[in-house]
């Protein structure tokens, strides 16, 4: 149930099958991201893969002495490109791997193009998704929702991605979905259809307890992606944006050239792996330790007097260089984060956000929001964040002042388009759209729980919010998830508590939720949860989603 390992195993198997010799890896746009998320270039170089090419690039040269490993999505364009390529082969031999099911018809098209008999293998390797963390995958579909239903093409891609996750993990699951969501029901039915149609693919050894695929809709919890984040991975994504593990730092003032784009990959960066779920304060101390360790090292590197010193220097140099790269990268990233936190008054804003999401009294919240809106330091995106949260929270409050806040936004020079998004969010994730009691105001038990929590006080005011998904999955693994709200597809039901769970969030998941799943996995031995989404959201991406309504 580790998605990174699943993709890695596929790719190393491909490379192994072609045997020794110089190789080129031929990919399309999507498979390039899939591969780059799990393998560093130097790692793949070790396997004699020396060139990386895009199938749609025109400038490729004929190099018959290379073996070509083609890893492609089975789209119509790719099959056409490939048929063209085979008619006039540029490389010596071809090993072709599709990331999903390829039809007999398409195999025939390719076979007829291969007059010169250069193709050695045609296989289906189901790595049709992007693995972010061991338990987190995404399909990189930025806008899957149009007019509150599936946008054209994105349902197909989601079904393909989700079934490939199941196949790569060898799971044939029972499917549960969020009853309030039409999109969830359609996705569930489509996945079931594929499982039935390709029954031969899904014949796995039966496990004691069947795995569960739980399909959720972002509309049930539009609050989580609106919040500022304080754990490392989530915070970097919210403030700087992570795109296939890459972070664009070119807007950072005074940035040096080689740091304009950095890669944060837990697979290849130990510091990041150890700290991605730590909160901002802990990272500060850890990075200080890292710096000190580095300084000690560089001191010892500095004195090269005797031959022995020189020898030691040379022996340690590669590690030293690697460490210096890690240090400068994280110091830059953390430095930029703390600059942004100070500049935009994020601590105070975040405190108010958490108040809004978790408890809070209406008039006090309104006061604080108004104060923050008039603060010079607050940037427009955060103003929008606050007003959106307020509207979601107090949508049905008799004295709510959404109109008044919108007026303040207008005076502050927030554009019409952005202000309309407040209504967009209400339509997308408001009370009518939700099938759940997101803020826990109706359920008496939840209400008292919240009340006591309020009395006890909270450990950290900035991280008191727990994503709604956390409680859903928690109930699921305890066997307490209500069947009315999350029915099974089909007649069979699970009697035991599930052990292997795949959660999929239509509309995108967040790194805060990834962290929640990570905690669930750690605290429940024997239970394995993998989270996926059409994309990984931050506020910038979420405001795009309802704006298309």
């Amino acid at each position: 149930m580790n998605v990174i390992v699943a993709i890695k195993q596929y790719i190393s198997k491909m490379i192994e099958e072609s045997g020794p010799g110089m190789k080129v890896l031929l990919m399309d746009k999507e498979t390039t991201s899939i591969v780059s998320m799990v393998y560093a270039q130097s790692e793949i170089l070790q396997k004699e893969v020396y060139l990386f090419e895009r199938i749609d690039s025109s400038g490729r040269e004929t190099m018959k002495h290379l073996k070509c490993i083609a890893f492609l999505r089975p789209t119509r364009e790719n099959v056409e490109y490939l048929a063209q390529e085979l008619r006039m082969p540029k490389y010596g031999l071809y090993y072709i791997y599709f990331s999903n099911v390829i039809s007999k018809q398409e195999v025939k098209v390719l076979a007829e193009a291969d007059d010169q008999e250069v193709v050695r293998e045609v296989q289906e390797f189901f790595g049709d998704y992007i693995a972010v963390n061991p338990h987190l995958f995404t399909l990189n579909i930025p806008m899957c929702c149009q007019a509150l239903n599936w946008s054209p093409g994105s349902l197909t891609r989601t079904v393909e991605g989700l079934t490939s996750v199941l196949l790569s993990l060898k799971k044939c699951p029972m499917i549960r979905y969020q009853n309030s969501s039409e999109m969830a029901r359609r996705l569930a039915e489509n996945v079931r259809q594929i499982i039935n149609r390709e029954a031969a693919l899904f014949e796995f050894r039966k496990t004691d307890v069947a795995p569960v695929l739980l399909i959720l809709d972002r509309r049930d919890d539009a609050v989580t992606p609106l919040l500022n984040q304080w754990t490392y991975q989530a915070m970097v994504h919210e403030l700087l944006g992570i795109n296939n593990n890459r972070i664009n730092l070119s807007n950072v003032p005074g940035i040096s050239k080689d740091l304009q784009e950095v890669v944060l990959s837990a697979e290849h960066d130990e510091f990041y792996a150890n700290n991605m779920y730590n909160n901002f304060g802990e990272i500060g101390t850890n990075i200080k330790d890292l710096m000190e360790e580095f300084q000690n090292k560089s001191k010892s590197q500095a004195k090269v007097e005797s031959i022995a010193d020189m020898k030691a220097f040379i022996e340690n140099y590669p590690q030293f260089k690697k460490m210096s790269g890690t240090v400068s990268k994280h110091v830059t990233v953390v430095g930029e984060l703390s600059r942004l936190v100070g500049k935009h008054n994020l601590l105070e804003i975040s405190e108010t956000e958490q108040e809004l999401a978790c408890q809070g009294d209406h008039s006090a919240c309104l006061q604080r929001i108004k104060a923050l809106l008039s603060n010079e330091k607050t940037q427009q995106l955060d103003m929008l964040r606050l007003v959106m949260l307020y509207s979601l929270r107090y949508e049905s409050h008799s004295n709510n002042d959404i109109a008044g806040l919108l007026e303040v936004l207008r005076k502050k020079g927030v554009s019409d388009k952005l202000r309309h998004m407040v209504h967009g969010v209400l339509e997308y994730g408001g009370r009518k759209a939700r099938g759940s009691d997101l803020f826990g105001t109706q359920d008496a038990v939840a209400f008292t729980k919240r009340f006591f929590k309020g009395l006890k006080g909270v450990e950290n005011v900035y991280t008191q919010h727990k994503p709604y998904m956390h409680s859903v999955v928690d109930q699921l693994i305890k066997g307490k998830l209500k069947e009315g709200a999350f029915p099974y597809l089909g007649t069979s039901q699970l009697k035991e508590r599930p052990q292997d769970v795949i959660v999929f969030m239509i509309g995108g998941c967040t790194y805060e939720e990834a962290f929640a799943v990570h905690t669930l996995n750690r605290t429940n031995p024997g239970i394995r949860v993998v989270l996926g989404g059409t994309t990984v959201l931050n506020l910038k991406t979420l405001v795009l989603t309802p704006s298309s309504t």
Binding site: Y50, K64, A111, V122
Partner: protein, 499 residues
Amino acid sequence: MAMSAEVREGFLCPMCMKDLGTVTMLQDHFEEEHSSEDKDVLQQLRGLLGKAKKKILGEKDSSDMFDTSSSSMSSSTYAVSNLSVTGYDPSVWDPQEIGFVRSRTDMFKSQRGARVDRYVVETNKLIIRLDKLTSSDAPVESSKRRAFEKSVVQWAPDSSVKTCQFCKRNFTLTRRRHHCRLCGDIMCDKCSQFLPHTFAKKLTDPAFQLQSDVDVGFLKRSDSNASLNSILGPEGDPHIRTCANCRKLLERRNDQMEQRNYKPAIVLLYEKMKMCVDNTEDLLREYLPMVESLSAGESIHSLQKAQMYRVKITKLYETIDGLSKKILNLGLNSEEEPQAKQLQLQRAIRLYASNFMQDNMLGLQSLPSEEQYKMLQERRTQEIQQRIAAERLAAIEAQEREKRLQEAKEGGHKNTPSSVKVTEERPRSGSKKLTSWMPSESNINFSDRDDPMIQQMNIIRGYIKQARQAQKFDEVNMLEQNLKELQQEYLRQQRQNWS
């Protein structure tokens, strides 16, 4: 017990790192000192020791089993201390098998086969005919030649076609019909292709080697209307008239043959380099344990042999470095700049080579010098001796305690003399022969109540000492081996007795 560093740590207390000689002592120590500190660790330790015991008792080959179980013990105590580490931990879940895979190769090949077989059969036919036409006993005079050509393949009758199948123009008095000598089809002169005999030879004779680098292939036609014969002149290369279809098939076969036989410079260099890399990896696999054992002062490997390995590896590194540089600079000095991707490939190969060297060479540990090695060896012998003494003491103590316990259980019915007498050394005079070395029985510690195994071990220890004094290192090796085996056996017995 094997004498490596890991096993020396076999009975370390995980809490205070104190070395307790035996399993039971460790357990006792743990219960006395740390029982209050960490119930979990204790629980785990107990479980592990139980497992280890079971394994030891269950397995005949106890020494190996014990090694693995004790190392697993140390690794799992390590894991216990690591549980608190937060963050990303890929080892949380069990290893998984590779995801589902479906091969479409058979389907692909059967589709392709139907198509390609036709080509192959067709081409083979053409090659056989070509062979006949160009054979040395084929007639040359034009009158006989035509009949011969018709016997090779049946010509299509002139009346069967009115237009050229390629340019679709009508045949007239000036646009005459011509036959393809390979398939017998009809076309006009302009659409005819001409295949020189040298090219035919290349296609039909697998052993055929071209004398020069001239490109062979179909003759090129100029745009003029003049017939080919007039271009070539009477003594021009002899050739065969074919149609465009046959030409395509023959050229396809030629390309395939060329590709099979042709290796560009980069491939040759690369193959050499890769071979060196593989050799180096093999050598390193043997060399690294050698260095480790030597720098621990062990005498399993000889220093000379290790030095030889080191030299070999360094030489291989130089070759790899040289070859990869050559690959990097391929074609840079020639007039035609190599293409961009080719350069990229060359750079990537060089990067691969330098990464390989950086990963392995810079970490290539240097060997101890002769003097250092001697010092290491001496230190090791001392350590071993100290250890053996300590072990013995511990064993005796343990036996004692065991006995006392038993006595206590028996309610003190018997009064046996309790303390173990360690008798004094009894020096014995040994005879030393000058011609060949023989161990004498002097300087050997004996105690009457010792286990015969311990006696045996002590004897061997004495021998080793003597052998070392006599500089007979082969014997030392052999004896040390014996000693090790004995110690393992002894340990096993002890454990059986106690449990």
